[in-house]
Structures are given as C-alpha cells and as structure tokens.
C-alpha cells in the first residue's frame, strides 16, 4: 500500500492546509462580524438603558436603574454596565466585588459639563476581565449622565475559539471520512495493480504447460475495469498470449530440430549399415586378409567402402568419398554404393569399366552437381594381380617387399563430373605379404588444434611402423595415430581406411566360424549350437567344444550383463578358427571398455555370494582356456582365447 501511504500523506497535508486556511479565514470573518455585531449589541444595550433610565435618573431612583442594569447585565458578553451622573459620579454598576480602577477614567468621559453627542466606543484592558469594548451612551446629551456598557471581547475570542474548535472537529471528521473513502478508492486502484504485478511474477516462473489461475483474474479485471487498468490488463493478457505463442513456436522449432537430428542419425545408421563391418569378411578365403574401418563425423559424411567377389577368383573392392556432407552426401553415397554393387560383375568385370559405368549412371541425373572420388580395384586372388582405376581419389599406398610406396597418379576425374569421361585401367602385381592401403582425405586432412593436417607423410610414417602386421592391426594403428594427432579436436570429416594383404593362393585354409550375435540372452544358445555343428563338421574333439562353449557362456553373459549401458541393439562378433592344433576365438564387442583379465582371481574359499562379479566367470575361462588375452581396439573390446585339445 505504498500508493495509499503517499495518498494519505498528501491528503493529510491538503487537509492541514485547508483546515488552517478555513480556520484563519473563519476566525477573521467571525472576528469582524462578531465585533460588528458586538458593537451594535453594546450600543443597543447602552441606548436601551439610556432611554429607559432618563426618567428614572431624573427621579433619582437608583434601585430601579440597578434592576435594569442587573437585567441587561445578564446578557451574554456583557462584562459590566454602569451609570454615571452628569458629573461622572458612579450611580449604579454591577461590579463585584469592586469597581476596577481602570473604569474610573471612563466614567468621567461625560464629565466637565460638555455636551456629548452620540455613542462612543473605546477599547480598554481591564485586569481580570481582559479586553473590553467600552460603549458610552450619554443620557440627555450627557447632562443627566451616561450609560456605560463593557462588552467582553474575550467572549468573542472564546466564541471564535469555540467555533474554530468545532470547525476543526468537523474537519477532522470529514478528514477521517475522506481517508476512509480514499482507502477504499486507492484499494480499488491498487488491488488490480498488485494483481497485475502478481500476474507478472507468476508469468516469470510459469512453464506454460497449463493456464495460470491468475490469468482468469486478469481477464476479469479487464472486464470489470475501464481506462488504464483495462489497458494494462489487456496488454498483459496479450503479452501472455504472445509469450505462449512464442514458446509454442520455440518448442516446435526445437522438436523439428530434434527430428532432423534423429533423421540424421538414421541417415548415419543407413550409411553404416550399407558398409560391411564384419571382419574377416570371407573367413574361408585364405588368399587375402582384408580389413576396413569407417569412422563417420558427427554430421553424416559421404565416405564409403565396399568389396565383393565378382566370381570365385576375383575380388572387387572400392573406397570413395562423396563431395559435401550431411544428408545429401549420405544419400549420394548410398546411391553410389548401390550402383557399385549393381555394376560389379554384371555390367563390367574391370575396375575401369565399373567406374566408367558408375560415372555415367551418376552423371546422368546429377542435378545437384555432386561428385564422388573413388578408387576401385579388382584382385585376382590366384595371381595377386590388381587391375585398378582411380577417379580423382587419394593415391593409395602399397607395401611391397617391406617398402612403402604410393601408387602413381592416374589423373582421372571424379565420378559425376563429366558423363562421357573415360577411366583408364592400371595394373599392380602383389606378392604374398604385400599390402595395399586405401584411405580417404578424412585421414590425411584430419586436423589438430593448430589446424595442421595429419598429412600423407604422417600416414606414411605410421604405416612404416606397422609393417608386417595383419590388416586389422594396420587399420587400428593408423586410426590410433590419427587420434593421437588430432587429440581433442572434433572430427570434421568421415575417416575411412581399407587395407588388403595378399597372402597368396597357397595360404592354408583354416576352418573358421564367424558369428554375429545380438545382445540378447537367447543368442547364447544359438552360439552353442553353431559351435557344436562347427565341431562336428571339422571333427574337433567334443571336449574342446565343451570347454569353448563353457567359456563363451561366461564371456558372453558378462558382456550382456555389464557391457551395455543403453537399451540399443548391439552386435557381438565372434570368430572361431580351427587349424587342427589350436582353436582360436576372437570376441569383439562395442561395449564399455573392460578388461576382464585385470580382475583378480577370486578367493575361492569365500562364500559364493560374497565373491565379486565377473571374477569367478573369468576364473573359469582361465581354467578352461590355455591362453586368454585382451586388447582394446578403437571402440571395441577384443578378447582372444586359445586352446588345444586336452587328453582324457
């Protein structure tokens, strides 16, 4: 009620001013009029007595004069009356107990035998009686005497005071009434304003999920009031509506963005699902060792790789990079990759033919003017010959006889640029042990914090250090080098690397079981069944299969139980190979990094319930297997188990 307090102060000041003014004014007016009236009253009394006393005075009947004086003396405001004779001697008066000394000179006004005309008035101060208006009325021109009437001016003052006090009381009553009315009135103004303030406060913390209770009040305010309050209420309601609309828009925008993001992630999934990810891809082919990895940037890029057998002998493989990023690149990549699959073997059996066809297909309706750089090769698994074609892609590297070199430039344009472009065919001969390394510019142009590229030279030195390793290890090593280089810098482009090692036609064939398991419990049984069939097929001792299954139960249960923090679908890749002496099993999972071998062997003397989770399972695995090793490979846990058949 600060507004009311201010108003109250204002009213108080106003009233004080009015009260003082009116009091002064009315005191002034009253004083004037009362004095005038008083004078005429005094005059009337004096004249009356003078007239009636003439004969009495002549008769020397002072008792009667006194009776008249007594009678008139009872009139309000009359302080005293006295009658003098012509010589100014006191004849009758009503002074009690004595005649004040100040009066005596007044009594002699009419003395000295002068003829006195008319009534005269003087003011005189008499101790104990205050200021007196002294009226002097001569009787028969003062010859007989005179009547003196003293009018008490203090009576007027008291009268005025009385009136002023009454006035003040009345004013105060009015003041109280006005304050009361003002209170009600101000309340009527302040109430809506404070409601509006409360509304704004409520609005500030409101989430707009539901309507505010106070909104209805504000709406009724708008209906009940007119003028400023209504305008204010209206604009507040408008503000609320606008805010609601704005927030609704914001929500829609946000959800649209989320939708797009989820679409992007779907696109990403499409991209990733279109490329082969299971390695070894052809476990029963011993002539080569192929491994590849695509790490997509946050926004979907346009990298891809693919490989397939055109026939029993020829493996067609390719790597590519669609210009641009995002959904268009991703879609274009999907198109390119699909066409690549469709072209190989059916339309053409050479790399140049495939790329040429691909170029024509892509270029034909390429309204968006996108292009793809690609390297395509066809490996003769028997001879190690590679017929390849490079459409504007990074030059692959090759390790031959332990020497690293870059494939010479072929100078052909990227796919989708010129529809009629011809792509030349090149040849390369790989000896067993040689490696061909394909990559996209996401590798060489990966940037560190200082915006420096990883570059081909760093790639080369990384490859040199990885000489003699299998394709899987080379892929892993290169990506680790890149990651070390870029450190925390966000990945800006897809990174893809594909490595092929030629082993030659005589490389011993090892029976291999490659299974992709989903992260479901039912998969345990499936794996067990597959392994049992694998064992029967390749005459593996039942004892060995039993141990493998027992160990795998433990390992897979562990992965299922602890490996995944989300509810998504995951793949656990298990590759088992049997070279008649050793059974080797690799388990890949993309779960939480976890090295089960670091878990201490359990104290078997402890009660089962008190033993730490996982400890016992690994203990069993260690007991069942001859060798157990763990490594973290990019975003996967890789557990390798080895065992040989045990007698008895």
């Amino acid at each position: 009620m600060r507004l009311f307090t201010k108003t109250l102060v204002l009213i108080v000041i106003l009233f004080a001013v009015i009260a003082v003014t009116i009091s002064l004014l009315s005191a002034q007016i009253l004083s004037t009029s009362l004095t005038a009236e008083y004078e005429s009253k005094g005059r009337a009394i004096a004249e009356g007595i003078a007239d009636s006393s003439t004969e009495i005075l002549l008769n020397r009947n002072l008792a009667t004069v006194q009776a008249v004086i007594d009678l008139q003396g009872e009139i309000d405001g009359v302080s005293y009356i006295f009658v003098t004779d012509g010589a100014g001697n006191m004849l009758a008066h009503n002074f009690i107990p004595e005649i004040p000394a100040q009066v005596l000179p007044l009594a002699r006004i009419s003395s000295e035998g002068k003829i006195v005309e008319g009534i005269s008035m003087t003011r005189v101060e008499i101790p104990g009686r205050g200021t007196i208006l002294h009226v002097h009325a001569p009787v028969l021109a003062g010859l007989v005497g005179a009547v003196h009437v003293g009018m008490d001016l203090e009576y007027i003052e008291n009268h005025i005071w009385d009136i002023v006090v009454r006035e003040q009381i009345l004013m105060f009553a009015i003041f109280l009434a006005v304050v009361g009315i003002a209170y009600v009135f101000v309340n009527r103004i302040v109430q809506p304003i404070s409601r509006l303030a409360a509304f704004v406060r409520a609005l500030a913390t409101h989430e707009f999920a539901s309507e505010l209770d106070i909104s209805r009040e504000i709406r009724s305010l708008s209906q009940k009031h007119t003028g400023e309050i209504r305008e204010l209420a209206d604009s507040f309601i408008a503000m609320e509506t606008t805010l609601q609309q704005y927030l609704r828009d914001l929500e829609e925008t946000t959800s649209a963005k989320q939708r797009i993001e989820s679409e992007l992630s779907i696109a990403h999934e499409i991209q990733m699902s279109m490329i082969p990810k299971i390695f070894p891809p052809f476990p029963d082919r011993r002539e080569f060792d192929l491994h590849a990895k695509l790490i997509s940037a946050r926004e979907v890029g346009g990298d891809f790789y693919d490989f397939y057998f055109i026939d029993e002998r020829h493996l067609c493989f390719a790597i590519g990079d669609v210009s641009g990023k995002g959904v268009p690149a991703s879609l274009f990549m999907a198109l390119t990759k699909t066409l690549f699959r469709a072209t190989g073997g059916e339309t053409s059996r050479t790399a140049s033919g495939i790329l040429g066809h691909l170029n024509r297909e892509i270029s034909r309706d390429n309204d968006s003017c996108m292009f793809v750089t690609a390297f395509c090769g066809v490996l003769d698994t028997v001879t190690g010959d590679i017929e390849y074609c490079n459409a504007g892609h990074n030059q692959p590297m090759v390790i031959r006889d332990g020497k690293l070199s870059m494939l010479p430039k072929s100078g052909d344009v990227a796919l989708g640029v010129v529809e009629s472009a011809e792509y030349g065919s090149h040849r390369l001969k790989l000896a067993p042990g040689d490696q061909l390394i394909l990559y996209t510019d996401g590798i060489t142009e990966a940037m560190d914090g200082q915006e420096q590229f990883f570059s081909e030279s760093r790639l080369e030195s990384a490859l040199r250090e990885l000489k003699g390793h299998t394709s899987r290890i080379v892929v892993r090593g290169v990506l680790e080098s890149v990651r070390e280089f870029t450190a925390d810098t966000p990945q800006s482009d897809d990174m893809t690397i594909l490595v092929i090692q030629y082993r030659g036609p005589d490389a011993p064939a090892v029976p291999t079981l490659a299974v992709r398991l989903k992260n479901r419990k039912t998969e345990l049984q499936r794996f067990n069944d597959l392994m049992r069939e694998f064992g029967i097929e390749h005459e593996i001792p039942e004892e060995t299969i039993f141990r493998v299954n027992l160990s795998m139960d433990e390992i897979l249960t562990n992965v299922l139980r602890y490996g995944y923090q989300d509810e998504e679908d995951h793949e656990i890749s298990v590759v088992a190979s049997w070279d008649r002496e050793w059974m080797t099993i690799e388990v890949h999972d993309d779960g939480t990094p976890f090295n089960p071998l670091e878990v201490a062997s359990p104290d078997t003397s402890e009660a089962l319930e008190e033993r730490k989770i996982g400890g016992l399972g690994i203990h069993i695995v260690r007991t069942m297997m001859d060798e157990v090793s763990y490594r973290r490979e990019l975003d996967s846990n890789v557990l390798t188990l080895k065992t040989e058949p045990r007698e008895g």
Partner: protein, 417 residues
Amino acid sequence: MRTGALIVLLTSLLFPAPDMQADEEIVLGMSAAFSGPSRALGIELYRGSKAYLEKVNREGGVHGRKVVIKAYDDGYDPPRAITNTVKLVEEDEVFALFNYVGTPTVTRVLPLLKLYRDRHIFLLFPFTGAQPQRQPPYAEFVFNLRASYADETRGLVDHLVNVGRARIAVFYQADAYGRSGWEGTRNALAAHRLKIVGEATYSRGSVYADSFERQVEILRASKPQAVISVCSYSACAGFIRDARDAGWDIPIANLSFGGTETMIELIETGSDSNAGSTEGSDYLQGVISSQVVPSYQDYSLPAVWEYRKLMDAYGDVLPPGMEIADYQPLRYSFISLEGYLNARLVVEMLKRLGPEPSRDGLLEAAESREEFDLGTFTPVLFGPDRHQGSDTVYFTTLKDGQFVPLTDWRKWQAETE
C-alpha cells in the same frame, strides 16, 4: 384563650356569621423566598402574618370572610417573582398582593402592577425599604408599612457621624437592594457633605460558606470608621465573620433586611467549626442593626404582647405546599413581628372596606386619612400622596446573642487619633 373564644362566641351571636364558603375568602397573594439563602425572611414573615390571620379567622374573619395567604416561593429570584405574581393575579385572582420579600424581586414586579392598573392590584407592605415602590411611577400601586432603607441608612449615618465616624464604607449586594441602601447612605452622607469612602459588592445568592475576605480587604484599604452593610443575612453573617477573622473590629451596621436573628444564628452555629480562633460572641461585638419594627422585647407595646401570644399559639404554621426541610422556626423575631404587624394592618384596612370588599375600594379605604392603630403607639396614616405607613427606625445592638435596643451611641464614639 378563654377570652378569645368568648369574643368569637359573642361576635357570632351579635353578627350572625354569613355562609362561609371558600370563594368568599379574601385571598392575599404572597411571593417570597421560602428557599435559598434568604428563605428565613419569607418563612418568618409568613409565620407572623399567619399567626395573626389565624386569630382573626378563628374569630370569624373580617365581615365573615376568612383572610388567607396564597404563597409561592420565588427563592429571591426576580424572574420567578414575576411569574408568581402573574400566577397569583391571573389564576388565583387574589384580592391583593401581600408580604413580598426583597428589593430586586419587588422592583421587577412593579411594572406588572402598572399593567394591572385597571384590575386595581395593590402590593401591600412589601418587605423592602427600597425606593422604587416609594417613588413615581409605581408608588401609587404600593402601600408600605416599614420605613425605607433611606430612613434606615439616614438614621445610621446620622448617628455614626454624630459619634465621629465620618469615614463610612458600604458593603452591599450587587442588585437593586444593595443599590437602594448604597443610595440611601450616599444621600445621607451628602447631607453632611460627606462621601462614601469605600465600597465593595457581592453577588445575590451568596451563602454563609462563601468567602468575603476580598470584600473585607477592599473596604479596609479605604480606612473607614464604620461599615454599613446592605446585605441579606447570609452575606451579612459571612462578612462579619471574615472581618473579625481578619482582626478588623470596626463597627458594622446592618439594615433591617439583613440584621436578623437568623444572621446571629449563622454566626453562632457557623463559628463552631472555627472554634479556637475567635469566640462566637466576639464576632458579634460591634455589630449594629437598624430595625423598622420595635423590639419584640418591648413589653410596653400592646402589639408585642399579642404578637408573642399569637406566635406561641399559631406560630408553628409553615407555608403549605412548599418543601421546607431542616428549618428551625424562630420563636420570636423582628421579621415575624413585621409579618404580624403587616397582617394586622391589612385586616384593619379590610374592615374599613365593609362586607363587600372590592379591590378599587381598597385604595379609598387606605387613603381615608383615618389613622390605623397597630398597637405600637405609632399611628399609621395613609393618604393619596402618602403610601408610607411608618418612617420609624429602631436601632439595636447585640448582647448575649440577642438584639437589644441601642440607646446610647456614645459607646460607639470614634477614638480620636
């Protein structure tokens, strides 16, 4: 009483009593103070008159008519006196107004008499010595028995001046009564070429308990040799008390209106509370009172004998219709003696009116220039120019708490400085 009863019997035999009916009564209207600080005046005056009228009525009345008093209380208040008078004339249709008490009251009533001129309403023997009813224009409507205040004050002044007390101050009631006494004193002194040396007033209605110290102070400042006190008995008593308490032993002379037995009583009983300061009797030292009736102890007068006898017989009658509590009637007093004389005179006048009394006949009967004998050896004579029955003033002083005739003024001789 046996004699009285015989007279009644004889009278009734000689003059067969007419049918005495209430409407044949002669009603006298009285307005006086029966309450307030002057009530003793009204009550005692009534008692004195009533005692005599009781006797007359018991003897068969006047020409067979009973004479009764219709009395109203005015409390010594002039407006009430006016109202009472109108009531007495208009409602009670009294034969005459009688025994009014007080100067301010009577002074204010006088114009009414002029108003009732055609009805011949006369005011008989008012208990006041003031001048208005003794002067034109009202003298013709009033018959006075008592001497005037002018007579009283002249007597006092003459005696005091004779004993060398020329410096005379006046203590008086601030109203027509006081003014009347003041004027009398002033005029009497003027005859000796003297002036009033000091004056102080008090307001009517003052009671004994009020303080008069200021008045004592004022008068004392003028160094008077005597004070003439024109007051009612309450104020007279209060003034004497305060003067004596202040150690002022100046002679104080009261007029008949104030110098009454009630005054003595007030001082004597009131001084009980002041016991130890001054003896009650000391207060009354140096107090003189002028009286307009003879002493009720003057056994030489036949009227005194009859008065005392009647007061003993019928004096216990108080005015009817009025609440007079805690009043101790005086056995004898100057006031009731005056009442007795007033009644005796009115009866004499009525007798002269004959069996069919009329109001206008009253004037004629009064002015018949035949003397009335009231048993005081001082004949009363009225005439067309004389409505004043008596101008005899008696002086009394106090001895043993009683008024005694003051015969030797030499005792009051001023000590020469």
